[in-house]
């Protein structure tokens, strides 16, 4: 019979105050197979660890149970101690008698009884643990960054500058994301394009970065250190190497469609360059608007293209890449128009969202930086800004705060005043959230220097009347009804995960929270990791955030990825699924439930890819024949734990 040692920690009085540790140690000493049982004031201290090490050596212990705090805290400490005494790390189990016992109970007798059961249960488990060594796998020292906004650009540059190859995939024709659409950025009011374009250029010139725009990730397989990615490269029908950006094609193109870069405030041709500084600098033929790729259908653009850059025969292409880590920076979209009909958005031309207003303010925008009403191109004299449109509204819209709207609305009001000196800006708000370096001062500046009028309250009605947009609301501070005859209304609509993020998350097998933002592995301690190892998150894909935060997270994610890529081999937890081939009938139910595609059928039996398996055990509960189980938490172990927990 295996020789087990039990070590019960007092944790000062944290445990010993409620659990009679002496009694517990005595009871455990009687337990079958326990040849050593002692208690000590701080097991995690050096002397405490030495007790364990000495006992393992002297009493020739096969395994140990440490009854102490939660395994999330000191499991590694004690497993390392066990290892240094010459036993396998998995021959050490933790019985959590602090967080799940001494700290939540008062009655000493009952708490002691419970602590004894918890510890015995750990003894029954550890006695049946297999000694395992981490699974080692080689690392493909390249990374994939999905999304070419500021976060993706930053991650890609950080990785590339550290010497690792990066594949940067962006689904639109140019990188730059939403940031390239902005006019100025808070709280410094520097020009967004001016600070972003150098980075974009760096990306395009970087020898370590393989930029794939107009491309989408189709399929991801493999595991940390060894992902295989299939990327769909959509045809642009323009050879970027030949294109001279002469713009002749777009001049002859008969098709006019809404320009997404200006959020519909302007139009563009079917063959177009998204914006002058686009990277890669080339034209793209958008076949959605194009009358046809055959010369008989139209063919005007090809006719005028002197360098013969236009190639109607270009086909979609699937590119396969192998990478060791993946950073997902898919960003955000604004809350759909349809959801915001109550504010007349989409119905009245002069009700705009924040990004449209950015374009109006932008020197490269449709009005060349003049703020004019889209309806009649007149300068608006009264502008109402409304915050929290769709955010912080659990009943009807999004429950969360979109975080950046307070700041950009202050900026919008300020920019408006800078353009229209005799205009008046009103801001309807619930509260002002301006945490951040220089943020509060920025808001104060808007009020004090630019005379922005902040109205605390909600807007009840917006309607058009004689060329004005009537805004009815309440100022909850004064209790007065407010009616403004506005020339323009700007809505700070909620930030949503970008369209397609859900589909991508499913392909990547990373979790999403209830709002559709990608889930980090731990809200505090692992904020840039996803739950799938080797995949990291940055930017607004994870939660609403502003540029500095997105950049910081992007660099953080890059650093995490580098931590993987800089190693020769990776180690994977060996507590993975194991198949009893004698029992397996090959029904494939486990294959269906595996969240990681770690299981597959081969010759009528299931096979485990140990590197993909995360050891969740869903397969084991699904299998009708107990043919698959997770090492070191097998049904037998659980069975024994159940028995002992119930006193037998």
């Amino acid at each position: 019979m295996k020789r087990t040692g039990v070590f019960i920690c007092h944790c000062g009085i944290n445990i010993a105050g409620t659990v009679d540790v002496k009694k517990a140690a005595k009871e455990l000493a009687k337990h079958k197979g326990v040849v050593h049982s002692e208690e000590y004031v701080y097991m995690c201290s050096d002397p405490g660890q030495n007790l364990i090490i000495d006992a393992i050596k002297e009493k020739k212990l096969d395994n140990v149970v440490i009854a102490c705090c939660s395994p999330t805290l000191h499991e590694t400490t004690f497993r390392n101690a066990a290892k240094s005494a010459g036993i396998n790390t998995f021959q050490c189990e933790i019985a959590n008698i602090r967080e799940q016992c001494s700290w939540v109970h008062k009655d000493m007798n009952k708490a002691t009884d419970k602590a004894i059961k918890i510890t015995k249960s750990a003894v029954e488990r550890v006695r049946r643990n297999e000694s395992l060594e981490p699974i080692s796998v080689p690392v493909t020292r390249r990374a994939l960054v999905i999304g070419g906004g500021i976060a993706g650009i930053q991650s890609a540059l950080d990785l590339a500058n550290s010497g690792f190859e990066v594949v940067l995939v962006e689904r639109s024709p140019s990188i730059g994301g939403h940031m390239i659409q902005l006019s100025e950025t808070f709280p410094t009011l520097d020009c967004s394009q001016c600070i972003l374009t150098p980075k974009m250029v760096e990306v395009s010139k970087h020898p370590k970065i393989k930029l794939m725009t107009y491309s989408e990730v189709q399929e991801v397989s493999g595991y940390v250190g060894n992902f295989k990615v299939k990327i769909l490269k959509k045809p642009t029908y323009v050879d970027p190497d030949k294109c001279t950006l002469c713009d002749e094609c777009s001049k002859v193109c008969p098709v006019l469609v809404s320009n997404e870069f200006d959020l519909g405030l302007t139009g563009r041709r079917a063959i177009y360059i998204p914006f002058p500084q686009a990277i890669p600098a080339t034209y793209t033929l958008d076949i959605k608007g194009c009358p046809g790729l055959l010369p008989i259908a139209c063919g005007k653009c090809a006719d005028v293209c002197e360098p013969e850059a236009i190639d109607y025969d270009m086909k979609p292409e699937i590119v396969e890449e192998e990478v060791g880590a993946i950073i997902v920076t898919t960003g955000y979209d604004l809350y759909d128009k349809e959801n915001m009909a109550e504010y007349g958005y989409g119905k009245y031309a002069d009700v705009l969202d924040g990004l449209q207003f950015e374009r109006l303010c932008s020197a490269s925008g449709p009005t060349m930086g003049k703020i004019l009403r889209p309806s009649d191109h007149k300068e608006p004299k009264e502008v109402v800004f409304i915050q929290c449109v769709g955010s912080r509204d659990p009943e009807l819209h999004c429950a969360y705060c979109s975080k950046i709207c307070c700041m950009y609305t202050a900026k919008h009001a300020m920019l408006y005043k800078h353009h229209v000196h005799d205009g008046q800006a009103y801001i309807f708000y619930i509260d002002i959230r301006s945490g951040g370096k220089g943020y509060e001062e920025f808001v104060q500046r808007a009020v004090e220097e630019d005379g922005v009028l902040y109205l605390r309250g909600k807007v009840s009605k917006i309607f058009e009347d004689k060329g004005k947009i009537k805004v009815w609301g309440v100022d909850t501070l004064s209790g007065k009804d407010i009616e403004i005859d506005a020339d323009m209304v700007v809505l700070a609509t909620a930030m949503r995960p970008s369209k397609g993020a859900e589909e991508l998350a499913k392909k990547l097998k990373i979790a999403m929270d209830k709002d559709g933002f990608l889930s980090e592995a731990h809200p505090k301690l692992r904020p840039v990791e996803s739950v799938t190892s080797g995949m990291f998150l940055a930017g607004a894909a994870q939660a609403p955030k502003d540029i500095p935060e997105a950049v910081a997270q992007a660099s953080g994610a890059a650093a995490k990825a580098i931590a993987i890529l800089s190693q020769d081999r990776l180690y994977h937890a060996p507590t993975v699924a194991k198949v009893n081939l004698n029992l397996c009938t090959g029904c494939g139910m486990c294959v269906e439930v595996c969240p990681y595609e770690a299981l597959s059928l081969k010759d009528g039996k299931v096979e485990v890819n140990e590197v993909l398996c995360e050891g969740c055990g869903t397969c084991s509960a699904t299998c009708l024949r107990a043919a698959i189980q997770v090492k070191n938490l097998t049904p037998l172990q659980v069975h024994e734990m159940i028995s002992i927990s119930l006193g037998g």
């Binding site: 939660s70 395994p71 999330t72 959590n96 602090r98 967080e99 799940q100 016992c101 001494s102 700290w103 939540v104 109970h105 008062k106 009655d107 009952k110 708490a111 009884d113 419970k114 059961k117 918890i118 249960s121 097998k509 990373i510 979790a511 999403m512 929270d513 209830k514 889930s519 592995a521 809200p523 739950v531 799938t532 439930v593 969240p595 990681y596 995360e614 050891g615 969740c616 055990g617 869903t618 084991s620 509960a621 699904t622 997770v630 938490l633 049904p635 659980v638 069975h639 734990m641 159940i642 028995s643 927990s645 119930l646 006193g647 037998g648």
Partner: protein
Amino acid sequence: MAEEFEPKIVAFLCKWCSSAGSDLAGVSRMEYPPNVVPIQVMCSGSVSPLYVLSAFNKGADGVLVSGCHPGDCHYIKGNFYARRRIALVKRLLDFIGLEPQRFQMSWVSAAEGTKYTQIIKDFVQELKPLGPQTKLRRDL
């Protein structure tokens, strides 16, 4: 005077959410009755119906299976399989006449120490009037 009946409860807690939530209850020094012995499993999706039946067979007065909220599963979707499986087991146990209060499932996130505390308090309160579970307990 006879001692008050103290139900024995086995709680299968998933490592990442419910067990962490239970840890949080401890860290926050909340108090709840000591009737529950927790068994940490990797995922609620790994809780086999056999575990539940076995716990009742070995004399549990109540069984709790607790996992991450939908969408929060550390293993992406294990809790969805658990939800289906446990629904079936629960219906079946109700059908054979086991008191429905005896078998519970909950979603407890790592941040929900308070919720975990409340669930245990309620569970113990609901089990007390029922007395010991003898229906499925082994009568060997």
